[in-house]
């Protein structure tokens, strides 16, 4: 049977008028304006070397954002993602030290990260502890574990230079990982039952349960996804830097991930958000960080400026999103 005319028309409307109603359009605009501003004021923003640097600012928050966005959509958060990020490279290091080849060591490390996510998820959904509190606990707990097993000292990630290059040492490898993960997670969110059910759980938990969706399973699964992605990000970051730092990541990387998601249009109230938006949010933050570094802003001022920029970008995005939707809430 041919599709009804209304469907065909709406398909065309989608393809043509898409950009104006596109949720991410306003953030893309902000990112482009920032690039133009920094290029005009510094003149050396759009050079090959600097683009590599920006991509490295962008990659880690973009991957962390993929997980945090899934959690925010189903009304949860993982405050300890930055701790899992710091722990994972040490798990690889000790796996290799105990005789595992590097790739199995990475797989085992990610498995342990998955177990961390599972534990956070089970505590949250079975005991009814808000994830804000659960992950505040694991925030300190995981830091303690990392500091204990590393004894507070950095270590060199195992493996030859080829593997290190693929994992993160080659200039563009981190951003390539990020783009691949963003693409996969975008498909998961928009084109699989898992993604749709995640949105449903965040939109209306009771209604989702009435429709037969296993709300707990969805939430636990997204905690696992977030922990694995955070661990993986920590591993590739360690290979890029060439060193495992027990104090790496932490709340900074986690909040950069959350901020990327929110700048990209993910609602803190749950129910809606986009992975692509999170990537663009991470680009905005990366451009800001790099641009201000190029301008030689005083290190003490730097955080303040980033904070103000995050606020402005978020407010602009929220206002624009409302204007686009014609909602006056």
């Amino acid at each position: 049977m041919a599709p009804p005319a209304s469907v065909r028309r709406s398909g065309v409307r989608h393809a043509l008028g898409g950009f104006l109603v596109w949720r991410e359009a306003s953030v893309i605009l902000v990112a482009v304006l920032l690039v133009v501003y920094f290029e005009l004021t510094n003149g050396n923003f759009l050079t090959g070397d600097n683009i590599v640097t920006v991509s490295q600012f962008v990659a880690a928050p973009a991957i962390i954002a993929c997980g945090e966005i899934m959690l925010l959509i189903c009304k949860e958060i993982d405050l300890s993602a930055g701790q899992t990020f710091a722990l994972a490279p040490f798990l690889v290091y000790f796996g290799a030290k105990f005789g595992l080849p590097v790739i199995p060591a990475i797989v085992v490390a990610l498995g342990i990260c998955a177990a961390i996510g599972l534990a956070i998820g089970l505590i949250t959904v079975l005991l009814g502890v808000p994830s804000f509190v659960t992950t505040l606990g694991t925030y300190f707990l995981i830091t303690g574990v990392t500091l204990t097993i590393s004894r507070g000292f950095p270590a060199t990630p195992p493996g030859g230079s080829f593997l290190a290059g693929i994992m993160g040492a080659y200039g563009y490898s981190e951003i390539i990982w990020a783009l691949v993960i963003v693409a996969l997670m975008h498909i998961v969110l928009r084109h699989t039952r898992w993604g749709l059910h995640t949105s449903a759980v965040g939109g209306n938990e009771i209604a989702a349960a009435e429709a037969g969706i296993n709300v707990r399973r969805i939430k636990v699964g997204n905690f696992i996804i977030t922990a694995v992605l955070a661990g993986f990000t920590g591993i590739i970051e360690a290979y890029r830097v060439g060193s495992n730092d027990p104090l790496a990541g932490g709340s900074t990387i986690m909040f950069l991930g959350v901020a990327s998601g929110v700048i990209g249009g993910t609602a803190l109230t749950g129910g809606s958000g986009t992975i692509i938006g999170g990537l663009i949010g991470a680009i905005v933050l990366g451009v800001l960080q790099d641009g201000f570094t190029l301008q030689g802003i005083n290190a003490f001022l730097f955080d303040g400026i980033i904070g103000a920029a995050i606020l402005i970008a978020m407010i602009a995005n929220i206002r624009l999103a409302r204007w686009q939707r014609g909602v006056s809430r």
Binding site: V7, S10, H191, T192, L196, S199, G203, A208, E210, I213
Partner: protein
């Protein structure tokens, strides 16, 4: 989602056979006894009306039949076989569909995603969601009922109360339900839309193979639509009758008597 209304009757199903029976259902929430030994049954081709005051336990009874709540005690029979409904999915696999009182719609999702929630259509080879086909079938189903929903891609949050109700009804009806549970399906509807839904319910009854349980507060409307009615008060069934053998006056008298007794106590 084949069009249930007006579709053909499966050969193994004959009208008049018992579709669902609940025996001596008790449901407690902590110290609250929501249901205290309720028994009901419905046959294929029959509509049972459930009347009763707010908080009487009507929705709780429905939610036990959908597998959403598990009863504290009591037995359930579906198509003659004893079952213990472990989940909403389990009940659905037996052909039990429900329009919940709160409609169970997700405001932040589109109309068509709501219509296919947890029974999404997927495409080979990767099993990704078939958004196009879901959109097409959702607008067909809504066109078929005749309730105007401007655009199946719109977020449900933007629709009127009656439109939302129509979506919830369409979702349950167009899913091949054998046992259809309706918890106040007409509550937010205007006269025209309520008429459309009543027409739809009557077409379903005329097919003869679907059993329907409907909760409502409008006594006259309920007696008009349903074959039999039960009155639930404080978690118990206090009155049961064929619609033809009772009247709005008789039902009101029972409820008033109860009210006076409660006031005296």
């Amino acid at each position: 989602m084949s069009a249930a209304a007006g579709g053909s009757i499966a050969p193994d199903v004959q009208s008049g056979a018992e579709a669902i029976r609940a025996e001596k259902i008790v449901k407690r929430f902590g110290s609250i006894t929501a249901l205290n030994g309720v028994s009901i049954h419905v046959k294929r081709g029959e509509i049972l009306g459930i009347l009763g005051d707010n908080g009487a336990g009507k929705s709780t009874l429905i939610k036990i039949l959908t597998g959403f709540h598990q009863p504290t005690s009591g037995r359930l029979f579906v198509h003659g076989n004893e079952v213990s409904l472990a989940s909403v999915d389990h009940a659905r696999s037996l052909g039990i569909e429900c329009v919940y009182q709160d409609l169970a719609l997700i405001n932040t999702l589109s109309v068509y995603h709501n219509m296919f929630l947890n029974r999404e259509l997927r495409r080979p080879p990767f099993g990704l969601l078939d958004h196009g086909e879901m959109r097409r079938r959702a607008s067909e189903a809504l066109d078929d009922i005749g309730v105007g929903v401007p655009n199946v891609e719109a977020e449900v949050a933007r629709l009127s109360g009656g439109q939302r109700q129509a979506i919830a009804v369409a979702r349950a009806v167009y899913s091949n339900a054998r046992i259809l549970l309706l918890d106040e399906p007409l509550a937010a509807m205007g006269a025209r839309e309520a008429g459309l839904i009543i027409d739809l319910i009557e077409r379903l009854r005329a097919r003869g193979d679907i059993a329907i349980i409907m909760i409502a507060h409008n006594y006259a409307q309920t007696l008009d639509i349903c074959d039999r009615v039960v009155l639930v008060q404080h978690g118990e069934i206090t009155f049961e009758s064929h619609s033809a053998e009772t009247s709005v006056e008789e039902l009101l008298e029972i409820v008033r008597r109860e009210y006076r007794a409660a006031r005296r106590a």
